[in-house]
């Protein structure tokens, strides 16, 4: 990559950098020394800064994983908080290298935006929360309900689809910010609160009496959330894709950040291939052969990342559910490294 710093006359340029227009993101990343990662403007458990200002979350862990694979150092990531509206432009224009911002994989986005989805690191779906004292057991009993939701997201459309299909009466009460939606629901302005299930768990903490509310079993939409890269750069696409797969494979094989070093001497050929003591899989990806070892030892396997950010011991307390391994009844399935 060729990096030149251009200084326009008289412009007090804070940092004006012109990157050459090459498709090889991996080379660019290696040359500049860090991964530029697009994250959300704060979604609990997915990408949010803690009180010390460090970004944490499942989406953030993926970026750290990519950095670990490329540099052997998970800290070599720079984060760009993006609003929902500007996220795709930022990726298209090359402002960021990878978009890891709880973005739903849809046909339109995959085909028309010049982007590729590199896997699914969280299977989400839209759910409903209601007050227990309503006595509602299923979303099909919600006829005539007023529904609180955010404006301008797919959740609003999903609700419309679901209620019309099932011939239920409903009334939308929409707000701009998540905090307003929760406050309105808590104050009794509406009967139902709907958003992605992960969001329901996160926002439950902000209710006056969380125990009085129940999340209904119905999931009315599929929201596979995953990292996104630019189309036409297969090398980088592969790397991001396999970063996620390495974490899932590691969980399946029982490799954790703690035992990764010890596991290097394992006799299991599958483990040896993951940790790079056998085969040349790193070279094929364009990174060091210990790429997966670096991801696992520095970021952890998928289960560690999940539990640390959204799992039962966090305030969010989300169970694995659909995000469990395929062998345990979930959907997380990674092709083998061989």
């Amino acid at each position: 990559m060729k990096k030149t710093i251009v200084s326009a006359l008289g412009v007090v340029a804070l940092s004006v950098s012109a990157l050459s227009a090459s498709a090889a993101t991996l080379d660019d990343v290696k040359a500049k020394g860090f991964v530029q990662c697009g994250v959300s403007q704060g979604l609990p458990g997915f990408s949010n800064p803690d009180s010390a200002g460090n970004w944490t979350g499942i989406d953030v862990d993926l970026c750290r994983g990519v950095a670990a694979a490329v540099f052997g150092d998970a800290t070599k990531v720079k984060y760009t908080p993006l609003s929902a509206k500007e996220r795709f432009t930022a990726l298209q224009s090359g402002e960021i290298d990878v978009l890891s911002r709880n973005t739903t994989w849809t046909a339109t986005r995959d085909t028309t935006l010049g982007l590729n989805f590199a896997g699914v690191n969280y299977y989400d779906g839209q759910g409903f929360m209601v007050r227990k004292d309503l006595g509602v057991k299923s979303a099909l009993e919600l006829s005539g309900a007023s529904v609180c939701t955010n404006t301008g997201t797919t959740t609003e459309l999903n609700v419309a689809d679901y209620f019309t299909t099932n011939k239920l009466e409903y009334e939308i009460v929409a707000f701009e910010k998540a905090d307003e939606v929760v406050a309105a629901y808590d104050a009794g302005r509406c009967d139902v609160y709907t958003t992605d299930q992960s969001g329901l768990y996160a926002q439950r903490l902000k209710l006056t009496n969380p125990a009085d509310h129940v999340v209904l079993p119905e999931i009315i939409s599929k929201e596979p959330l995953g990292p996104v890269v630019r189309q036409g750069d297969d090398q980088w696409f592969n790397l991001v894709k396999w970063t996620h797969f390495a974490m899932v494979n590691a969980e399946e094989l029982g490799i954790t950040s703690e035992n990764a070093e010890a596991m290097k001497s394992s006799d299991n050929p599958a483990i040896k291939r993951v940790l790079g003591t056998e085969g040349e899989f790193g070279a094929a990806l364009g990174v060091g052969n210990d790429w997966a070892f670096n991801i696992i030892s520095q970021v952890g396997n998928y289960a560690e990342s999940f539990n640390r950010n959204v799992g039962p011991d966090t305030p969010l307390a989300i169970s694995r559910g659909t995000n469990d391994l395929w062998s345990k009844g979930g959907l997380q399935y990674a092709p083998p490294i061989r």
Partner: protein, 468 residues
């Protein structure tokens, strides 16, 4: 006094030794004013209970205060939680904490835990001293500038407008700007710092040549104008040089800036850029030269015709698509330029109001004593025009200061953006979290805006020469 005295002595002289029944020998002491005209009671009578509508309004307002103030004090102070480590400190029993059912009040430890983030954003811990020095320089330079009685105003102004911006840029970003040249094609010279200075020299010569040609055209002496331009370019060169020197500071990219410091950076840049640009635009709009006035009118009307949010959005979403592939401008820089241009258009119209309020005699008088255009503007017109529009100027400043919060729409984490971001941390998620942080935010903004407004009133009184 003297009259009464002389009268008394006259009376004495007339009556001689004759004793009259009563003659006041000294003044009666002044009586206290009636109790309902002075003191607390008088003030209340005059201001609160003057007549029936007034009394009704007072009682109504009093009732509203009675309804809100105790609750507010309870919410902010008496019922509030002041210490704790996580959300459990501010959670009721139902939410998993220990506070009684129905408790709702401020959760200050959450603000405490996030205070560093609110002020400095994600600026690296080890480099915070740089932000602190910048803030110190800012206030240490600003406060004496605002006090009219202190000396060295000119030096102070040079410090604030010349040295401080460059120093704060170097401190905050780390300086060490890579200058690679901009003019000559790469075929002639490899990009390097030397090439930049060669380019800069060529540009300076071209500009000086243009100025000289223009002055020749207007048949005035070109020497002073060319010398002035050359000095200007030299100052610019010095600024760029200082910015490009490697002081050994760790570079801190703007994606780590944030919080109240970013709010100040945007507001101060906007304010500092808006006034001079606005004055120039206002003069340009009233100029007799058609090109200048047309340009000013188009510029002003364009920027006034679009909302700030559109400007920011265009700069962050559309601009990258127009730029050549891979070229990215810093997001904060884009926002800064947008805000500065936007506010300068508003400032121009405020200043134009002041220019139009001056009687024509002032302009004619200035011409009659033989001042040229710039002299008459600087010495006669502007001091009067700006004094008239102080409220309008400060109004624009306050509006700009509050408008900076709009940058959170493009993912810049200013003070309010940081506060919104902190809501996503599940560690402190409680029903009162959002309210607490917004109250805190409102308080800080009020402090600054109210301060600006009081200072403007003070300046108005001070500069009031009772022409109006």
């Amino acid at each position: 006094m003297a009259d009464i005295d002389s009268q008394t002595s006259m009376n004495r002289a007339e009556t001689g030794a004759l004793e009259v029944a009563f003659v006041r020998k000294e003044l009666a002491p002044a009586m206290a004013p009636p109790v309902n005209e002075s003191g607390v009671l008088g003030w209340m009578r005059k201001n609160l209970f003057l007549n029936i509508p007034n009394t009704i309004l007072t009682l109504f307002a009093g009732y509203i205060l009675y309804l809100t103030i105790p609750g507010l004090i309870q919410w902010i102070f008496t019922d509030a939680v002041w210490s704790g480590d996580d959300r459990l400190a501010c959670a009721t029993v139902a939410q998993g904490g220990e506070l009684p059912e129905g408790w709702k009040a401020a959760c200050w430890p959450y603000v405490g835990a996030y205070l560093k983030l609110f002020i400095y954003g994600r600026y690296p811990d080890a480099e915070l001293w740089r932000v602190n020095i910048t803030l110190f320089m800012f206030f240490a330079g600003l406060i004496p500038l605002l006090m009219p009685n202190l000396p060295f105003k000119r030096e102070n102004l040079i410090f604030m407008l010349g040295i401080f911006p460059v120093a704060s840029f170097v401190l905050l970003s780390g300086g060490n700007l890579g200058l690679n040249g901009f003019l000559l094609p790469e075929a002639i010279m490899e990009p390097s710092t030397l090439k930049f200075w060669v380019d800069f020299l060529i540009l300076t010569l071209v500009i000086c040549g243009l100025v000289a040609a223009y002055m020749k055209g207007t048949e005035s002496d070109p020497i002073p104008a060319v010398v002035g331009t050359a000095i200007g370019m030299a100052v610019l060169a010095l600024v760029l040089f200082v910015m490009s020197v490697d002081f050994g500071l760790e570079p801190v990219e703007t994606d780590r800036w944030g919080g109240f410091v970013m709010t100040l950076v945007i507001a101060v840049t906007g304010i500092v850029a808006a006034l001079p640009l606005g004055i120039l635009l206002a003069l340009g709009r009233r100029s007799n030269m058609p090109a200048v006035s047309l340009f000013s009118v188009i510029f002003i009307e364009f920027w006034r015709g679009i909302p700030l949010i559109t400007v920011l959005f265009m700069s962050s979403v559309m601009l990258p698509l127009f730029l050549p592939d891979g070229v990215t401008f810093d997001k904060l820089l884009r926002a800064l330029i947008g805000v500065a241009l936007f506010s300068s258009a508003y400032m121009a119209e405020v200043v134009r109001g002041g220019l139009q309020a001056l009687p024509k005699g002032q302009y004619e008088g200035a011409m009659a004593v033989g001042l040229n255009y710039w002299q008459s503007m600087r010495l006669i017109i502007m001091p009067q025009a700006l004094k008239i529009v102080i409220p309008g100027i400060v109004n624009t400043f306050i509006g700009l200061f509050k408008d900076t919060t709009l940058v959170s729409i493009i993912g810049l984490l200013d003070f309010l953006g940081m506060i919104n971001l902190s809501h996503s941390d599940a560690t402190w998620a409680t029903p009162v979290q959002a309210m607490t942080s917004y109250v805190f935010c409102a308080f800080i903004f009020f402090l600054f805006c109210f301060g600006m407004s009081r200072y403007s009133i003070y300046m108005e009184d001070r500069l009031n020469t009772s022409h109006r």
